[in-house]
Symmetry: C2
Subunit: 435 residues, 2 copies
């Protein structure tokens, strides 16, 4: 029996539900979405850059022209024509392979969940960057896996740290089922795995017999150069690749995919059928039609320019206004900047003051499975206009100033904060060096 | 280590994947979808009855008018306006409650999976009608639950049989987490739970402290009378209700829902977020707009008349042509007839001969978790035109005739089939009395 007498069903729930709590991000959104608040919290793409008249006409015509097909049940694996076009998309990052090894999913979140369900028994270890994507942590937690974080620096995951972790796990007799990584324009860290590190990571995967789950929703959204080759383009036997149309087209359609070795692909389809029967047929036709009839590569360039301008606005405003002692990453693509506060400050404790000052961000702790990240926070520049971003950073800088003053007034200079802060078990855990 | 040396990943898969095999139905579809085959196999609704011009225009206008909203991420629980309209739909079967207790899902398959993940630990017992919906069995199997079947008759689930099963489980020290039931126009059995049995089932649920998962995709598709009151309308604390727009509007949108007691609802949302982040926003707007702007109740009547005519064609053809010894259910709604072959025949063994004669059905074994159902098969009348249905039954009757002759020639009269057939462990298990 559970001790929770308020929930009459408490003694019936499956064990896997025990670790589930409301996401930091969800709890925040109700407040953050008020119009007077500048939200640097959400990861919502700037969809207004899409030509809605053209897209709307295309989507209506699908039903008018072939409604009995596009509104009908489809196959669990997803429609072949879309899987062929997905191969074209992946070719931009050097990936070759067979459309028969692609599984269409309900966004790449479902892909994360499918991979978790195919590979993870309770207690299995998953390696993941620290910080890591909160949705992935949710899927791993639902599978009752233990996430072990591996630190990053400005060039992404650190190979030596990965090997150290693998050796430690081996000594402890624990086996990691896979490494989960977001190599490009990391969510939330904003960093990219350097080209020369990619074969090193794959070499470690080979030597320690590790699978790699490469999650790449932002890969085509680089500001300064062509996409780097995907890990999957260098190793088709150890890498399971996850892609998404949420950032290059429309998240509300929930169309993502997995490319997996053939034997794994078959398991993924079986699990997906038990989970959703088939991904939405209509949405697959919509994406397939969009890729086939619209200048989608040009549209991605439009998105890139939008996000580049916003990234510039954010970084310039941070440079101009943030108090000394703060540091942050400098993304060259994607949606996010990762900011580290001066020692003694706590991004989660500070959050209500941020909202009071009408600026929202996501505190860092939600991006770790182990309580790290108290001094860290994520800033998103994808949705607000540049002027709003500047205003948001100005507000945030004011809040951080006040926090520093408050701490100084009550606790004396920096050295003593460290001591004071030690009551919070993880507050002084070293954050990743992301600057 | 697994013994499967052909799959290099075999020693990595999670335990839950072990019971997963390709569904009987999926394996069949490739062949059954050839144009020369009359398919009485699939459960695909007859979508051509929808006014595609109007629906297409409506769906295009959503994007043209509010693309940046309808193509954006949404909440994990689903949009409030749709949940309000779902309350209106359920009101037709006597259900009252709060839209806040509704969770929108990716078809009701995801609802089945969510309920399984919230409640089922490996080895937990689920009670389900025998036969039961194959998609539900898939979700329960993925949760590593044990399904215990409870027989039906022409009035649906038999309360005395349910109590007997509950007593037996209690003696064995096993606890059933919930009863899964399709009360209306059962898939695959075609029967409906009689009105007077509904409170009896709920009374047993109360006395044995059992939850009830009421899966009701076909409830509004009754041919002869108004819908019966839902189990959920009689008990809002023990019943978790699953609904779907796949049969009343369009399965390719994958929009279903769960109505659950509040505490359970919160868990369902958490699991759904870990699984798909949010159900497709656009699809929710499409359904909400359809319910708000289109004469959807009238459209359901159109569907009913289509399916009634097809049901009549199927039953008349069965009466006219099926050999003695066959029996079948007489549905007064929904999509399915459940047919039992004479003793000694095996619907799965007969299937290739059916396909050779250009008629497809689904063998019964896939609808049981325990190998029952060899003499049984499911016939769907939802998709083919009445003349095709009659032709399909004529072909099927020919195949059954031949099977009977073959058995008689090689094995002598009926009595000795029984003996012969005993080598197949479950072949002689009594099928449910569904006639």
């Amino acid at each position: 029996m559970s001790g929770n007498s308020l929930d009459p069903y408490a003694d019936r729930y499956a064990r896997r539900t025990q670790g589930m709590t409301i996401s930091e991000i969800r709890a925040l959104f109700a407040v953050a979405s008020r119009p007077e608040v500048v939200s640097l919290a959400g990861g919502m793409p700037f969809l207004s850059a899409l030509p809605m008249d053209v897209v709307g006409e295309m989507m209506g015509a699908l039903v008018t022209g072939a409604g009995a097909t596009v509104l009908q049940y489809g196959s669990g694996q997803g429609m072949p024509a879309l899987r062929e076009r997905i191969m074209d998309v992946m070719a931009l990052e050097g990936i070759t392979g067979s459309a028969d090894d692609v599984v269409v999913t309900v966004g790449s979140q479902q892909a994360l969940d499918l991979v978790s369900r195919v590979f993870l028994d309770p207690g299995d270890v998953v390696l993941a960057e620290g910080p890591s994507y909160v949705g992935a942590l949710g899927a791993f937690s639902a599978a009752e896996a233990d996430v072990v974080h591996v630190p990053m620096d400005g060039d992404g995951l650190i190979p030596a740290a990965l090997e150290e972790t693998l050796l430690r796990l081996r000594r402890e007799g624990r086996r990691a089922k896979f490494l989960y990584t977001v190599p490009n324009f990391h969510n939330p860290a904003g960093v990219t795995l350097a080209l020369d590190r990619r074969p090193q990571i794959l070499d470690l995967a080979e030597r320690y017999d590790l699978l790699v789950v490469e999650d790449n929703p932002y890969g085509l959204l680089g500001f300064d150069r062509d996409p780097l080759p995907a890990l999957r383009s260098m190793d088709d036997a150890r890498v399971i690749y996850l892609g998404s149309f949420s950032k290059t087209f429309a998240p509300g359609l929930r169309v993502g995919w997995v490319l997996a070795p053939h034997a794994v692909r078959e398991k993924l389809v079986l699990v997906s059928e038990a989970q959703v029967l088939c991904p939405p047929t209509y949405n697959q036709y919509a994406v397939e039609s969009y890729l086939r009839t619209q200048p989608w590569v040009e549209q991605v360039k439009v998105f890139r320019e939008v996000y580049r301008e916003r990234r510039d606005a954010l970084l310039e405003a941070l440079d101009a206004t943030m108090p000394e002692g703060c540091s942050w990453t400098k993304p060259d693509g994607g949606f996010y900047v990762w900011l580290t506060l001066p020692p003694g400050l706590d991004a989660k404790v500070m959050q209500p003051r941020g909202l009071h000052a009408r600026v929202a961000y996501v505190p860092g702790v939600g991006f770790y499975a182990d309580g790290q990240g108290r001094r860290e926070l994520r800033l998103s520049y994808c949705l607000p206009e540049p002027d709003r971003i500047r205003e948001g950073v100005r507000r945030l800088a004011g809040v951080v100033e006040e926090e520093i003053e408050l701490r100084t007034t009550f606790l004396g200079p920096v050295g003593s904060w460290e001591t004071w802060h030690r009551h919070s078990p993880s507050a002084d855990a070293p954050g990743p060096d992301l600057a």
